[in-house]
Amino acid sequence: GCSKSADDSSGTPKADSSGAAQQVQSTGGTGDMCDFTAYGADKLDLTGVTVGFSQSESTSNPFRATETQSITDEAKKLGIKLIQRNANANVSQQNTDIQDMIAQGAKVLIVAPENSDGLAPAFAAAKAKKIPILTIDRTVTGTACSDFIGFIGSDFEGQAKIAAQDMAQALPDGGNIAVLQGTSGNNVAQARTDGFVNEVKASSPNLKIVASQTANFDQATGQKVTEQILQSNPDIKGIYAENDTMALGAIQAIKAAGKTPGKDIMVIGIDGTEDAVKDVASGVMFSDVETNPRFGPLAFKALQDFYGSGTSTNVIIADNHFTKDNAQQALDNGDVY
Amino acid sequence: MGSDPFVPGTPPVLEVSGLDKSFAGVHALRGVDFSVLPGEVHALIGENGAGKSTLIKVMTGVYEPDAGEVRFRGEPVAFATPLAAQEAGISTIYQEINLVPMMSVARNLFLGREPQRFGLIDSARMKREAREVLAEYGVHVNPSRPLRSLGLGAQQMVAIARAVQLDARVVIMDEPTSSLEQREVETLFEVISRLKARGIAIVYVSHRLDELYRICDRVTVMRDGEVVRVDSMAAVERLTLISLMLGREIGDIKAHGTTELEPHDVDESAAPVISARDLQRRHQLDGVSVDVRPGEVVGLGGLLGAGRSETAKAIMGALTLDGGEVEIAGKATRRTVASSIRAGVVMLPEDRKAEGIAPGLSVRENIVLAALPRITRAGLVDRRKQDEIVDYFMKRLRIKASSPDQKVSELSGGNQQKVLLARCLCLDPKALLLDEPTRGIDVGAKAEVQGVIDELAQQGLGVLLISSELDELIEGSDRVVVLKDGRVVGELTGDQVTQDALMTTLAEAPTAPELEPQAQEENDD
């Protein structure tokens, strides 16, 4: 009965926004651009208005903490007044949060949506008041440059695809693998499942997914589930975890079962958190795909462009890919969180 | 009233034959045949645990019989629920008051058949009617008050009023008078005679034999789950009745006798074991002072709601007070129940169900509940000592249970009462506060309990006795303190301790005006 934060990424980061800034990988398939005239909003000077930021999940999740911190820091740097809310993984609450901030005088909104659907009332309220919304890290169903300005974030299916290719590389002879899924009903979890499963099907017929269980993006659950899976499938060769914390839990379980992660069983995760990248560097984990939470600079850049020459409606950030070759270097550079 | 007989020869309205009912380990009814005729008041008697309440529950759909048949108005019936019995025309007042304590008096009275307007309950009318109905039963209360704020006696009257209001052909009353005081009993009897005149059959259970002779036409005597005699009430003599119930020879009973209680030797100069001074509690107690000396039985007299139970609870430390002091054996108490018990006072609460038994625990555990500190060493219960105590009191009070392990809720009402008495006595107290100690217990047991009280007083125990049965109060007490509306209005000592004197004192005492029914109309929604 208690609310479980559906952390799509967590680990042990430093909750600051330094580290590797987000890099743009692509700017949308269509390459559409959007500015305030096209959106139908009034021209504003960002430094003079209040910007609202609606965070979807608890900041006890490091990804969320870093994301919030990055936005707060960037706003401070640019001298922009920021107000913020946290919906704690509750879509209804996020609707209320957004309307609250509108009532409180926010003229521009940055929203990290809890869910792709279900924010219609809040978005409609904003639209009615001609308040533009920039969505980050998860997409929202609707029309860009009409319901919202656009989207900045990772390509979750792409991440999973890379992970699947890594798995094929890690197990050239094929074998049985298990998938630790994120929280049921979470868009990110779904994308990371689909991306992985499709890629395995398409290009690695010798990999066989024998177990696929949800572990709620949580380390302890990841450990428990892996412990069980290892009992019923003693011949597992690889584990794909849809975030790093579940990967860390899996590693713990593999060790407890008397096997060696990185040798007997290959573990691949997503997020690029410090602990996981360390494990990649030491060979315990095979590889890790990054999800960069430092949205501040890109988000505010997009908003400034929106009131100027226009910004892309679909910015996909370039996520790092940590393998044994570059992991140590990334750690030394402080590129992980 | 017994002089106005039912019409013999009419077919019985409610009839059972060959009824059998067992509970795990107890054979409560064995082949019981029983019938009531329209317009008769039929006494159902037997000692505690004889099976009276069980018979009633089987007849009214609470329990399903293991064997046998119930016929209502000539047709075989099997009521699935009390509701079905009620709808068919059998209205029952069960032994323990079964009303909803937190709901208002009016809502209890009309529950399930509230007056309605446009499909919604008409509260104003309901309250008005409740007030009128209750007035007929001598209960003058604001019908918006929650039922639990009434004393047990008043609650019982509400239950009776409710049952009689239902348009029934048979009214069953399981010990309706056990918590009533004389005045209410008279009211009840009037009600019964009215019902009788309307040709309604009444089944009447009581341990007060005098009442039976006054109002009943026929009697069925039960013993150990069997019917031992069915006869016209007048045809069975009192002693015969008792011997039938208890299954003992008449001679035995005469010898054992209803205990003739002698006044106790009270050392007037001895320091009181209990000394309560000027107890004050808003709306309930208004400066009550009572002393109880060692070896003395002090009765608390008064009508229902006079504040007798409150006085006892206040002494026990179970009631917060606005003012006043209580000393036990010369020392001021800390006014918590535990410290009072340590100081040597124990109380037998009036409301057995709500404040007495722990229904889910065994007889054994219930008896030693308060005595735990005395039978534990280093936190461990000394089982040998415990069993000794339990054994002793089960024998001495003749508690009828299949074993000490039986759940208390499975005992008959009277036996539950004895378990509570055992709980008090095993504490080896200096003073006893007894609130209706013989409520619901059979003649045999009652004599025993009274004997025990007497014996304890002889041994120097101080007793504060509350009883709605005037006889018991007058017979048992050395001194009676009379309460009215939360105040002491008189004290009877020595030869003054008579029924008449008590009545006179009560009658002459002024009524506190504020305690009369309230003028203003309250909103209970």
Partner: protein
């Protein structure tokens, strides 16, 4: 209020015999169910009856079990403790905080934190008369926040052989945490059956007004019970840290209040209080663990596992329901 037990046994010749069977099943149904699950799994699940598998199940069930034992005490007094999951989090937060002073100090501080939160719950319930569910709900929300504040948002890795030993190592071939659980079960079973405290516990849950009038130290017993519940939840928190090798107050113990309550009820302790089954609680926790293990090891989808679990809980509780019904 059980003076009218509306029980209706159907008439019939073998009634007594059937009654006895039913009563026996009610008493020992969970154990039968456990055996049944073991047998079924032995047949359908590869390598189920292996030492390694039992070890895994033991690791997973012990924390739940320990929490459930405390919960059983609380439930016996007609209460409920929703804060246990948050106490797990709080206790785990204490470990990295005090690890610098030595492993045992850290463990001690974790347990102290549990006792304190239990004390808080107990005072709210016994002295301030707040309804248990809402008092502990407030703690459930607040304590997790506190735990995260104390620990920082990050899960902290705990690298200490003593604490890891509690969570992973064997003693005489059996995990240390199983021994801990055994000791607690023995102590509790003894306390409940043989001590005055055990008697008071059931009496208070059965009829609090009567217990008060019989002079029982009602408040003291209630406070103690919540403290024990907090203490045991904190102990579970320590085991979590030991087993996982890190402290994660934002996620540790989530939903464990529900797992614990389920174990208690499946084990035959009624939520209406007044009765407690210590061994039954153990059996309840083990049973639920085996159910989960079966579902996960057969890779049943989350949707179906939830529905199957729901049905199994109902069936188990139905089989174990006492004579008093509820």
């Amino acid at each position: 209020m059980t003076d009218v037990a509306v029980g209706r046994a159907r008439p019939g010749l073998d009634r007594a015999g059937r009654d006895r069977t039913v009563a026996w099943l009610q008493e020992y149904g969970v154990y039968v169910a456990i055996v049944a699950l073991l047998v079924v799994n032995a047949i359908i699940t590869p390598s189920f009856l292996t030492a390694a598998n039992f070890r895994v199940q033991a690791f997973q069930v012990v924390p739940t079990l320990i929490i459930a034992l405390g919960m059983a005490l609380v439930i016996t007094t007609e209460g409920i403790d929703l804060s246990v999951g948050a106490v797990v989090a709080l206790s785990s937060a204490m470990i990295p905080l005090y690890l610098g002073y030595g492993a045992w100090t850290a463990v001690l501080m974790a347990l102290v934190a549990g006792c304190l939160s239990g004390l808080l719950a107990g005072l709210m319930v016994a002295v301030a008369n707040v309804q248990p569910i809402i008092a502990t709900l407030a703690l459930m929300i607040g304590l997790r926040g506190l735990a995260v504040i104390m620990n920082g948002a990050t899960a902290k890795s705990v690298d200490d052989s003593t604490i890891a030993g509690l969570g992973l190592d064997n003693l005489f071939g059996v995990p240390e945490m199983v021994w801990i659980a055994v000791v607690i079960v023995v102590i509790l079973a003894f306390v409940v059956r043989r001590t005055a405290f055990g008697r008071r516990l059931t009496a208070i849950g059965d009829n609090r007004a009567a217990s008060t009038l019989a002079g029982l130290p009602v408040k003291r017993v209630l406070v103690t019970v919540y403290i024990v519940s907090g203490l045991l939840a904190a102990l579970a928190g320590v085991l979590f840290v030991g087993h996982g090798g890190y402290a994660d107050p934002s996620n540790y113990g989530l939903n464990y209040e529900l797992y614990a309550i389920t174990a208690v009820v499946v084990g035959g302790t009624p939520l209406t209080g007044g009765r407690i089954k210590v061994l039954g609680t153990v059996a309840g926790a083990v049973f639920m663990q085996l159910v989960t293990a079966t579902l996960v090891q057969h890779d049943i989808k989350n949707s179906w596992s939830q529905m199957i679990e729901a049905v199994i809980i109902i069936v188990a509780v139905y089989a174990a329901r006492g004579r008093s019904g509820r």
